[in-house]
């Protein structure tokens, strides 16, 4: 097993859930596939999905819901 990071593709606000009253896309410990959505980045009022990009298990999120993030910033750690 190796640890990898998922990076934010864009600068903006990071959301872990699709809407304020919806559950998180993924939680720590969840198994993910490459095409799973792990969050949204809001950039200039448009919303863009963040894909896992690799299959494995989420160790932990490095950015919280509604955190401001920069492009290239690590937002989660996964075990692949």
């Amino acid at each position: 097993m190796a640890t990898q990071q998922i990076f934010s593709p864009l600068p903006g606000i990071f959301y872990r859930k699709p809407a304020p009253d919806k559950p998180d896309y993924k939680s720590d410990g969840d198994t993910i596939t490459e095409n799973d959505t792990i969050g949204l980045i809001e950039v200039m009022k448009s919303f863009n999905e963040v894909k896992a990009g690799a299959a494995g298990k989420i160790l932990r999120f490095l950015a919280e819901n509604e955190d401001a993030v920069m492009a290239g910033q690590a937002i989660a750690e996964i075990d692949v």
């Binding site: 864009l10 600068p11 606000i13 009253d21 809001e42 200039m44 009022k45 448009s46 401001a68």
Partner: protein, 466 residues
């Protein structure tokens, strides 16, 4: 003037615009800013500035408590909300007044009344202003709604009573679609706005969007004529002009008088805009909604009337009666505004935040550029993509369009993508030149022209013939 120090509870180009107006009135300014905006032009220009929180608007520009505390800390005696954020928040307007400060805008009551689309429609009908055929209020039951729709005829729009800005709208073209969409629309309205109230309106296809600018002092109301904003993408305006190329003098007179009647009926105070749909085939107009604030496109009205709307709204808030009579308001020439956004029109309007590596701003006769840009400024990703507004004025519409093309050639924003190529293409389009468009015209046009919007623009020297 009772206002000594004005706090600007907004950001971007409108904050810069308000600071300029306040300074010309001899009023000191306080600019609030989020952590992401500490290097903004508004912060540089204001007399004082104060940080109000993290980049997220919900934690800074929308945080009423922090903004009121900032006003108390800096000794501001008035708050200008700009547009967006808290501009049409009745609770905020009331809280500003409860704190003993002046809210530069209408009363909380007027904001609340016009913010409820059903109440606004009722107020319009009571003032004799035509509204789109539909339900007189919230729909009581699906059966009652269907009985009504059968009378109105299809297509109809199902709208959320608490919605706005084009959100929460469904279009039904048949009885079957209507029965299918009603429950969906109700659930969505409840989830999005915390209010499942719905109303229906007949869809006026191929209608134009025309709006009337008014100014009121709580007693008297004048209009400053109309703007046409039919060129829209996803219900967001991209090109606005005054006067409308589609109105006859008689219709213009009727439309503007109806706006004054409605604003008077609610004892309106401040700058406001009444939005209408206009069907140029039947020459019928229908009241849509009222915006109880200054609007993005206010400069086109300023250019044709010579009235400084932001200055007037601040004076009115300071307790002055209207300084302009209706007989003093005249339209001279034609004005066009285009919105320069940090978006790439060649890539589906992909947002394009980034650093301005070089900037060249157009100038010369009849050209105005309201913006927040300076060379070296980094446009943050957290807010909307409006970078600035290019406004031109000339003696008539064809000359204004030629002036717009000239000014667009002079405008250069390097370091990020902008919507400039879109406006250059629109300014050359035969239908735009002829003024033949409506609110659903731009989106199919964009699909047809997507490929050409990223093309390199012709260099200004390319036209030189030896």
């Amino acid at each position: 003037m009772t206002i000594q120090k004005l706090l600007i509870a907004n950001r971007g180009e409108i904050a810069v615009r308000i600071i300029r107006a306040a300074r010309e009135l001899g009023i000191a300014t306080v600019q609030v800013y989020s952590k992401a905006d500490k290097d903004s032009l508004a912060v540089r220009l204001a007399d004082e500035s104060i940080e109000i929180g993290p980049p997220q608007a919900s934690k800074s520009y929308l945080n009423q408590t922090t903004i009121l505390a900032a006003a108390a800390t800096t000794g501001a005696d008035a708050i200008h909300p700009g547009y967006g954020f808290l501009a049409e928040n009745a609770e905020f307007a009331a809280a500003v007044e409860a704190a003993g400060l002046i809210f530069v805008g209408p009363t909380a009551h007027a904001i609340r009344l016009m913010g409820d689309k059903v109440a606004a429609r009722k107020a319009a009908a009571a003032a004799g202003v035509p509204t789109v055929p539909g339900s007189d209020g919230r729909l009581e039951s699906p059966d009652a709604a269907f009985a009504l729709v059968e009378k109105t005829g299809f297509p109809v729009m199902i709208k959320a009573a608490a919605g706005g800005g084009g959100r929460g709208i469904r279009i039904a073209r048949s009885a079957e679609e209507f029965h299918h969409l009603m429950p969906q629309a109700q659930a969505e309205a409840l989830a999005a706005f915390g209010d499942g109230g719905l109303y229906v309106e007949k869809l006026i296809e191929g209608a134009r969007h025309i709006e009337v600018q008014i100014l009121g002092d709580g007693h008297d109301v004048i209009h400053c004529f109309e703007r046409e904003c039919s060129l829209q993408r996803r219900r967001q305006k991209v090109w606005e002009e005054a006067p409308s190329p589609s109105l006859t003098p008689a219709i213009r007179d009727k439309l503007c008088s109806s706006a004054v009647a409605l604003a008077k009926a609610v004892d309106y105070r401040g700058a406001g805009t009444l939005e209408y749909l206009y069907d140029d085939r039947s020459q019928e107009f229908y009241f849509l909604e009222m915006n109880t604030r200054i609007q993005v496109e206010h400069p086109v009205t300023e250019m044709v009337t010579g009235i400084d709307l932001v200055c007037e709204m601040i004076q009115i808030a300071g307790g002055e009666p209207l300084r302009i009579g209706q007989d003093q308001v005249h339209v001279h020439g034609h004005s066009i505004e285009v919105r320069i956004n940090a978006e790439d029109p060649a890539k589906g309007f992909l947002p394009s935040p980034g650093t301005i590596s070089a900037l060249s701003v157009p100038s010369g006769d009849g050209v105005r550029f309201d913006s927040m840009l300076y060379q070296g400024y980094t446009v943050p990703p957290f807010y909307d993509s409006l970078l600035g507004k290019l406004i031109v004025h000339d003696e008539d519409r064809p000359s204004a369009i030629r002036r717009l093309e000239r000014a667009l050639v002079e405008l250069s924003v390097e370091g990020l993508a902008t919507t400039k190529p879109l406006h250059q293409a629109l300014a050359r389009d035969p239908e735009v030149l002829a003024g033949c468009f409506h609110t659903a015209w731009l989106e199919p046009w964009l699909e047809a022209h997507a490929a050409s919007l990223g093309a390199a623009e012709p260099s200004p020297t390319a036209k030189v013939v030896r």
